[in-house]
Amino acid sequence: MKKGVIGKKDFNSWVETLKKEGEVFGPKERTDQCWFFDRVNNPAELRLDYTSTILPPKKFFVPPRNELLLEFNLKSGEGKAGKAAPDRELILLGIHGCDMQGLLRLDLCWKEGNPDSTYLAKRAKSTVIGVSCNPDEYCFCTKVESNDFRQGFDIFLSDIGQSWLAEAFTEKGEKLLALAKTTEGTLLDDEIAYKAKARCATTKGPEFLPKVVELPLLCIDGEDLPFWKEDVGQRCLACGTCTNVCPTCYCFDVEEEVDLNLTTGRRLRRWDSCQLEGFTEVAGGEKFMRDQPGRQKHRFYRKFRWLTTKYGGSAFCVGCGRCGRQCTAEISIPETANKLFLGVKAKG
């Protein structure tokens, strides 16, 4: 690992050099306290002190819509796979630990069984530079054990006041860090950096009663608890926002687009949501997830039971808090987890 301290006054010129190495994207502020990941044209637009963006970084690897899977020609009847990898390296600058964990969960799912080259090619051509977080009352990454400042990152930046402490964990990261004007850090810098990293733990987030390790078991024991139907299932408006903003949700639909020449066209991928009524509907009209309580439970169980047990124990919720922040009905993962926990305990 290589380490260096980048003075904040030198930071923007480093970002300018990064732009020569690839396409740089990072957090910007749209309106007051509303952040989003976007192309960095001018480093001064970067808001590395952000809390959370509306959409997680999954949008760079699985775009919300119009992702090219195939191109076809109706006259010749031929189809060919769309080009998966971008020409230039994608440099994501300013990713929080929870979102990195989200990407690592997605890597597992897209690689498993039948590897999805459309996703993996983009991931292979990406560099992720992390940044210490500025959490709010919705964040709960520590509760779901997703506060990692190293795993998956090429570089991690910690705010140490007048400077950033940069740690490079990969060859790619070391190469990029070498482009910055750095000074050597001290042990004191490490401790100040650690404080910045640990803000996830020291900021008061929502109460989260169960331990991650017991959640799959609570899911099994709590399948028939009345709150699924009477509470969250009743309140949910079935809008699908929670799955759109989730860093680990990746269900998709595929649609066909034919050009006006009626000859060329393409097959495109777009996000879908298990919260929408027609999600499981087959051509005969049967819907296999019949009601909203079932769909709410499906989403929660995917995060804490099925994918968790399949992939060896990590929760598939990374505690970013986005679904709770955005939900019109104010349903949140910690609230649901607590109701499940208390319900199962009360059953004895």
Partner: protein
């Protein structure tokens, strides 16, 4: 990340060699790949049929892997299948697959096979029935209970007359929910065919495929016959959009129907409420 696989979503070109109308809403297609390769499927698996400009949908493979080419039987029920019904012999379609887990043809060697098919559920069963006929020595009795709503909706597969005549050693019982003037056979739901069966329960395995509503009643009837749970296999219908375990539409709890099914061993899904 290591070497990347080629696209999961690119279909292979196949030509429709023959179209046989089956009923008002179903047509039977014989197809073959343009590069001369065989599908190499297991009975009970499915393919994604692709019509460029229209879309893609999952269709059960109806032929035995022992035959050349492959057969699909398609009900006109959605956008892709309606477009498919317009296609003639010589038309090209795209095929991805085969996908999923089929019937356990190896594990059931030496066993008596009780096939229970309702409506279009007969289509994937035909694959395994023809397979077991072609490997007749490998299997015991071949019993088929086949039901449809009306006599007109019974499929007239090319070999069906032989089965009816008892030529292929298939013990066939038919039933329709509502008969017509010409119908002289059983009238009633398919479960009425189960109680009279004389079976060696130690040796018999039930292989069930039909519309979602049918499973509950067939399972009750099998239970009434003292059938063991682990002697039952079911082929389930779901929205298997991608076929490769990614898109999420066919998920039954932790299972992806397109990868872990569509054929399930009953004990695996017995306690999942949404499964059946």
């Amino acid at each position: 990340m290591a070497e990347l696989a080629k696209s999961l979503y690119l279909p292979k070109s196949a030509t429709i060699r023959k179209v046989i109308p089956m009923t008002e809403s179903e047509k039977f297609y014989q197809l073959g790949f343009d590069d001369g390769s065989e599908l190499g499927h297991q009975p009970g698996q499915f393919v994604e049929v692709s019509l460029y400009g229209v879309g893609e949908c999952p269709i059960s493979i109806s032929s035995s892997p022992t035959a050349k080419g492959f057969d699909l039987c398609v009900r006109k029920v959605g956008r892709v299948t309606e477009a498919m019904h317009q296609l003639k012999e010589g038309s090209k379609v795209g095929i991805r697959g085969p996908f999923g887990k089929g019937f356990p043809a190896e594990a059931l060697k030496g066993k008596d096979l009780l096939f229970i098919g309702g409506g279009i559920g007969m289509v994937p069963l035909r694959s395994f029935i023809n397979y077991s006929i072609d490997r007749r020595k490998d299997y015991g009795r071949i019993i088929l209970l086949y039901g449809s709503r009306t006599p007109k909706e019974l499929f007239n597969f090319p070999e069906f007359e032989d089965w009816k005549a008892g030529k292929k050693d298939v013990e066939l019982s038919l039933s329709v929910d509502r008969g017509d003037d010409k119908w002289k056979g059983n009238v009633g739901v398919i479960t009425t065919l189960i109680p009279p069966l004389k079976l060696d329960l130690e040796k018999t395995f039930a292989i069930v495929c039909g519309p979602p509503i049918m499973y509950k009643f067939v399972l009750l009837a099998l239970e009434g016959k003292n059938f063991k749970d682990d002697h039952i296999y079911l082929s389930l219908e779901r929205r298997m959009k991608c076929g490769v375990g990614k898109c999420g539409h066919c998920q039954i709890h932790g299972y992806y129907c397109c990868q872990d099914g569509p054929v399930f061993h009953y004990p695996l899904i017995k306690n999942i409420k949404e499964a059946l």
